[in-house]
């Protein structure tokens, strides 16, 4: 078996605030294998971004972090800032929802990509600019020779997203973390950017950790999926396991609440009642308990552990009622 590219091991992240401790991420564990696309899905506030930012060590100084994030044989939470800077950009690169988070508005796009190339490779400045143009071309920016000399504001939203991807893959990272990379884009531009990400991944062999709330995007690109709720992993498995054989009440609820382009017409949506948990005052026991159709007293007393379902350990779910779920789901279907 190959080593995972990155392993989150019992990661917890908390923010002390004036109103109390925000426990944003709780005991999160999962691996990303080389070359795969792993999606992290969940509604807003479920802890997806905080998990990713912890891997990049881009969190405020007062943050309380426990657990490990193993990458390239070491725990990223334990290394010095200098070594961490080498990891960012070379080992792990990040793609954000807003490309202006990563792009410098007063620097030519080509210069920014060339600078990235130069931090890693000992090449001439001219060679670095040529590489910048090649990278822009590889992500589908037309007329790259002219575009390298432009500033980010001269690029459209979709083109900026491509420029950021070009910069992210400049040094052939082992892992690309993409946090809602297409959320702000229109659907025709989203389709372009997703295609560019797939192409870039095939060309570089990088693994992708894709964070999104859009189950459609996940279905189109992910090999495996982690579902988060209230800062915890509720389910993880292959895309097929999670989409077709989910063993978790929250995942099921999420799936049936979305209107689908291919759903039978006239069918009523099945919402999840209530609202996502308040991070400052989370429910006791299972975080999904107050909204779960299958909850019973035990659910409100203690949270369930993430357990393996099935035989090969590839599919995991967090629920007190794992054994009864197939019957409960079947009964709910016929209602």
């Amino acid at each position: 078996m190959t080593e995972p590219v990155i392993s989150f091991d019992d990661l917890s992240v908390s923010f002390p605030t004036d109103d109390g401790m925000v426990r944003a991420v709780r005991n999160v564990s999962f691996d990303v294998e080389p070359g795969e696309v792993m999606a992290v899905v969940g509604e807003s506030g479920s802890g997806k971004s905080v998990t990713a930012l912890a891997a990049m060590r881009l969190h405020p100084g007062s943050t309380e972090i426990t657990g490990e994030v193993r990458f390239g044989g070491r725990d990223l939470l334990g290394i010095g800032e200098k070594e961490m800077r080498r990891v960012r950009g070379n080992g792990i690169a990040m793609i954000f929802q807003d490309p202006m988070t990563a792009l410098n508005p007063v620097m030519k796009v080509g210069a920014q990509i060339a600078e990235m190339v130069l931090t890693h490779d000992d090449v001439s400045k001219k060679e670095a600019w040529t590489r910048a143009a090649d990278l822009l071309e590889s992500v589908g920016v037309p007329e790259p020779g002219r575009r390298v000399k432009q500033y980010p504001h001269e690029f459209s939203g979709g083109m900026r997203q491509r420029a950021m991807i070009a910069m992210a893959i400049a040094n052939g990272p082992d892992l690309l973390i993409a946090d809602e990379p297409t959320t702000a884009l229109d659907v025709t531009i989203q389709a372009q950017v997703l295609e560019v990400m797939k192409t870039a991944q095939e060309a570089t062999g990088a693994a992708i950790l894709l964070i999104t709330h859009d189950l459609g995007v996940v279905a189109g690109i992910a090999d495996r999926v982690v579902v988060m709720y209230g800062g915890r992993v509720f389910e993880s498995g292959s895309a097929d396991q999670v989409f077709y054989r989910s063993q978790n009440p929250y995942t099921r609820g999420l799936m049936s609440s979305i209107p689908r382009l291919d759903a039978p017409k006239g069918e009523r949506l099945i919402p999840i009642p209530g609202t996502p948990p308040n991070v400052l005052n989370p429910p006791s026991g299972c975080a999904f308990g107050p909204r779960c159709a299958f909850a019973s007293d035990g659910c409100h007393e203690a949270h369930a552990e993430l357990m393996s379902v099935g035989f090969d350990g590839t599919h995991r779910s967090r629920c007190h009622k794992l054994a009864e779920l197939p019957d409960l789901f079947a009964a709910a279907e016929t209602r």
Binding site: V187, I189, A219, K265, G266, P271
Partner: protein, 348 residues
């Protein structure tokens, strides 16, 4: 329970008729704010909305959906064109009459956080339109309490303030306020776009229930084609200020005829890994042109995979196809014809 809107007949005079509506914004520059150009946000839109009907309006950001909704209600003054409510001219109504007409036509905004006055209690927010229209405090409050119940909020929420509520609950408050004057038509501008999916479904169901209960007509503006498919009876697709295709929901989604509609539908990801693996996607090239510099002829031609010479100089008129489907394209696709195949056959 099923709720199939297609079984509802669209008959009689429309509640709302929009005829060749245009809204341009001047682009100004320099010290003297000299006009240097025009943004054609809405360029000649014609639409009808019938009693108890939901017209979905879809299109990518910047295509003019919000401007259309606001211009219909005269929150923005139209550059030209007309709007008629139950046969009466809205465009020509004097201010006093306009105030009355607004009772019948309400709007709900996307952002439930920005559209509610943070210093007013929920009951007062909902009662305010009634007070403005001269109802006594007692009557307005009583009606607000009924509405709080109708939109599925707990009765004691009336004394609380907007910041105490989640996005979905705030959207319910916005809807209750829009219902206060017992309108006939509500323009819903991206009412669920800011909400998480589990909560979005609650609000969509609520809108469907309220429509049935109060016989409302909706103009449902959104960029999410799946939500629009779910809620609409008819759908208008907009591109750069124009309606390019309008038809009943099933014709639009099952037999899209305009190349843009087909591209848009093919770009939407579906939450089904097998379907996604087997899908052939039309990935449109390029970006949306600026509405300040629209292409000549057909506005979609710079991205259309089957654009021909004629498309660059002749603007396509809206034409009605056999099934009542209206489409503005020189080469509309026939039922079952796929843009990918037509483009391939032409060597694109």
């Amino acid at each position: 329970m099923t709720n199939d809107p297609t079984t509802l007949p669209a008959h009689g005079d429309p509640v709302l008729r929009v005829d060749n509506l245009v809204k341009e914004f001047p682009i100004q520059a320099g010290l003297f704010r000299r006009q240097v150009g025009l943004v054609q946000a809405v360029s000649g839109v014609s639409l009808d909305i019938h009693e108890h009907e939901t017209l979905g309006v879809v299109g990518e950001s910047g295509c003019g959906k919000t401007t259309l909704g606001r211009t219909i209600l005269r929150l923005l003054e139209a550059t030209s064109g007309s709007v008629t409510y139950k046969g009466e001219s809205v465009s020509g109504a004097p201010n006093s009459r306009m105030r009355e007409l607004r009772r019948h036509m309400q709007i709900v905004f996307q952002d439930p956080f920005a559209s509610l006055n943070p210093r007013m209690a929920v009951r007062d927010i909902i009662a305010e339109p009634l007070r403005i229209h001269g109802e006594s405090r007692a009557v307005a409050s009583a009606r607000a309490n009924e509405l709080i119940d109708a939109v599925g909020l707990l009765s004691d929420y009336g004394n609380r303030y907007p910041h105490e509520f989640s996005g979905g609950q705030r959207q319910r408050i916005g809807i209750a306020r829009a219902l206060a004057l017992q309108p006939t038509l509500i323009i819903l501008d991206e009412p669920v776009s800011a909400l998480d999916v589990s909560v979005q479904a609650q609000v969509v169901n609520l809108l469907e229930d309220l429509q049935n209960e109060f016989k409302l007509s909706y103009m449902f503006i959104a960029h999410d084609l799946s939500v629009v498919r779910h809620i609409s009876d008819r759908v208008a697709v907009m591109y750069l200020g124009k309606v390019v295709e309008v038809a009943d929901r099933d014709s639009i989604y099952d037999r899209p005829s305009h190349p843009y509609t087909q591209s848009l539908l093919s770009a939407v990801p579906v939450a089904d890994p097998n379907a996604e693996r087997n899908r052939r996607r039309i990935v449109l090239e390029g970006d949306l042109p600026s509405p300040a510099a629209v292409p000549s002829g057909c506005r979609f031609r710079t991205r259309c995979p089957i654009a021909a010479e004629r498309c660059s100089y002749e603007e396509p008129e809206m034409q009605t196809l056999a099934d009542g489907h209206e489409v503005a394209c020189h080469f509309p696709l026939s039922p079952g014809e796929s843009l990918i195949e037509v483009a391939a056959a032409r060597g694109r």
